[in-house]
């Protein structure tokens, strides 16, 4: 994972795409990459990666999203700059896509520009979400996303969790189910995402690379938020 120039993160609504995208962006920035994090989320109105724009700018990550007051809009605005980024052979591009096939349709609209050889298309899976709680349901959802994105998946990211109530057993069970989806789709599980709190308890128990997640998009009442300022939904842009 993360070996390609373009990383597209798709998945079911609420599967954890945005948190993973923010964490990967931070990770890439620390490794010295010139990262553009493209917020393609036209599905959810709050808790989008654009909310972290100021914070990301401090790390040198450029968040590509609507400008001005439109940053708060629930309109399906696709910033034209995305096409320039895809054409620019140097830019490291990370795309945070909206949920389900509805959100993935935006990726489909960019199909003519997609540098296929340099693109990884990752599906995030959380089996504790209501409509993807079985392998069968997750496979159906994956197929729908692939069709809408007009792009085959190249990897799965297992992200089964229950936020603060996540136990190692939940993570391990999620990984097992993700492998089932991988087998059905013929796509490998390339990483298991785990919250930093649970990480020490599952370390060494999985034959798969781990992505240790910090939670950035906490609600305003979180005791130890990373991004809290008084403002609209945790961040002033």
């Amino acid at each position: 994972m993360l070996a390609s120039r373009v990383t597209i993160i798709v998945g079911h609504f609420g599967s954890g795409k945005t948190e993973i995208a923010l964490n990967l962006a931070v990770d890439l920035a620390h490794r010295g990459a010139r990262v553009a994090l493209v917020d393609l989320d036209v599905v959810k109105p709050y808790f989008r990666s654009r909310s972290a724009r100021a914070f990301m700018a401090e790390l040198g990550v450029r968040v590509v999203a609507p400008q001005g007051e439109n940053i708060h809009a629930d309109l399906p605005i696709i910033v034209p700059e995305i096409r320039t980024l895809l054409r620019d052979g140097q830019a490291r591009v990370l795309m945070d896509v909206g949920g389900d096939d509805t959100g993935a349709r935006v990726v489909g609209s960019l199909a003519d520009m997609m540098p296929l050889a340099e693109t990884e298309h990752l599906l995030v899976l959380n089996f504790r979400r209501p409509f993807t709680d079985t392998v069968e349901a997750a496979v159906v959802m994956a197929r729908e996303i692939e069709a809408a994105a007009r792009l085959p998946l190249t990897g799965l990211v297992s992200n089964t969790h229950l936020m603060e109530e996540t136990t190692p057993a939940i993570v391990l069970e999620g990984y097992r189910l993700a492998q089932g989806v991988g087998w059905a789709l013929g796509v490998p599980v390339v990483a298991v995402a785990v919250d930093e709190g649970v990480h020490p308890q599952v370390q060494g128990q999985l034959d798969c690379p781990l992505v240790v997640l910090k939670r950035y998009l906490a609600p305003p009442f979180a005791a130890q938020p990373r991004l809290r300022r008084t403002g609209p939904l945790f961040v002033l842009n």
């Binding site: 609504f13 609420g14 959810k44 109105p45 709050y46 808790f47 708060h72 809009a73 629930d74 959380n126 504790r128 979400r129 209501p130 409509f131 709680d133 969790h161 229950l162 936020m163 603060e164 109530e165 609600p219 305003p220 009442f221 979180a222 005791a223 809290r228 300022r229 008084t230 403002g231 609209p232 939904l233 945790f234």
Partner: protein, 362 residues
């Protein structure tokens, strides 16, 4: 059922289904689109019917019609959409029909914005529609509580034959938390039979006619008095509130509801660590408002602070409750701006400084 990670909107939808609701009528509006989305997906799976109406006016009148059949019915919207539903809500209250209405509030007035707000407190608790009527209004502070209160709302609506509103700000609709649905849930009220339901007349009983028109003034006055007696029973029996940090002595009592109360609870933890004596009272029912509880809790404090995502609406009920016995301060954010625990702590400290000076002067 295993715990799931759900958005508030999804939990609200599932709660309605768990409560036996099989009919949803609605029209999309941010930030609660996931409720109709969820219902449109789930209702066909359980033999129910989802109707996306052409407007909120239509949706709410479909709700009115379907409620007349005695079925458990449900709609959801956000502030501007709820305004459009007010006529039908008044009719349902007048015709004494049970229904559950969820308002996931966004910033207003007018179209406003799509970020969280609590600006519809007056609309929800003091009428909104025309005539002398009341809605029972429940205000959750977590996704789990939203799920629980929606289920209770159906029981309360059936018991009182009255529309019940669940009032959450945008965060309640959009944030994600683990949720559990109890498989063997006991209704929170005894569920009376529904002889009033209009289900087709076969000559074996009096006709069940659903109506809110009473042309005879004496009859209409009596109808209003009957309704009032019902609202009085709600005031007597349905008050719900919770406290946080008030088991220890406190100088400042903060009153807040919904996710704002959640922010305040974080502030209470932080302030207590610094040795600042503060407690929280959180109304869960906004109508009936916990006047007695606020009055009693305020007496144990030097001052009261009300925090809302509005220009001060519940603050008026707190003032009524406190009745001048303690100074009532207000702090509000509007437009979709949120209150932080730090901002809350600052306000509490400011009030303490002020109160100290007043005491020295006194």
């Amino acid at each position: 059922m295993a715990k799931k990670l759900m958005k508030g909107s999804e939990a609200i939808g599932e709660a309605a289904i768990q409560a036996g609701c099989r009919l949803f009528f609605g029209y999309p509006i941010t930030p609660q689109n996931e409720i109709p989305e969820y219902m449109s997906h789930r209702l066909p799976q359980v033999g129910g019917t989802f109707v996306q109406a052409e407007s909120e006016v239509a949706a709410s009148n479909m709700l009115y019609g379907a409620a007349g059949s005695g079925a458990r019915v449900f709609t959801s919207s956000s502030s501007p959409g709820i305004s459009l539903m007010m006529e039908a809500i008044s009719y349902m209250a007048g015709a004494e029909l049970p229904a559950v209405i969820v308002n996931i509030m966004r910033a207003g007035p007018g179209l406003g914005g799509i970020l969280p707000s609590q600006g519809d407190y007056f609309q929800a608790t003091k009428g909104g529609g025309h005539g002398d009527y009341r809605l029972l209004v429940l205000a959750p502070w977590s996704v789990q509580e939203a799920a629980d209160l929606v289920q209770d709302a159906f029981d309360l609506a059936d018991f009182y034959r009255n529309p019940v509103m669940v009032l959450g700000d945008g965060l309640i609709g959009q944030m994600m938390e683990p949720v559990e649905f109890r498989t063997e849930r006991v209704p929170c009220k005894p569920l009376p039979p529904k002889p009033w339901a209009s289900t087709g007349w076969r000559g074996d009983r009096a006709k069940a006619i659903i109506n809110s028109l009473f042309l005879d003034p004496e009859v209409l006055e009596q109808h209003n008095r009957n309704l009032k007696a019902k609202y009085d029973a709600m005031v007597r029996d349905e008050v719900r509130f919770a406290t946080y940090g008030t088991e220890r002595p406190y100088d400042v009592l903060v009153v807040a509801y919904g996710t704002v109360a959640r922010v305040v609870s974080t502030a209470v933890d932080n302030l207590r660590e610094e040795g600042v004596r503060v407690g929280l009272l959180r109304p869960i029912t906004l109508f009936p408002f916990p006047y007695e509880a606020v009055r009693a809790a305020a007496r144990r404090a030097k001052a009261v602070l009300v925090i809302e995502l509005s220009c001060g609406q519940m603050a008026e009920d707190v003032q009524l409750a406190v009745a001048g016995s303690r100074p009532v301060h207000f702090h509000g954010r509007q437009g979709g701006m949120l209150v932080s625990p730090e901002e809350t702590a600052e306000k509490v400290k400011e009030i303490l400084k002020q109160t100290g000076k007043e005491a020295r002067r006194g």
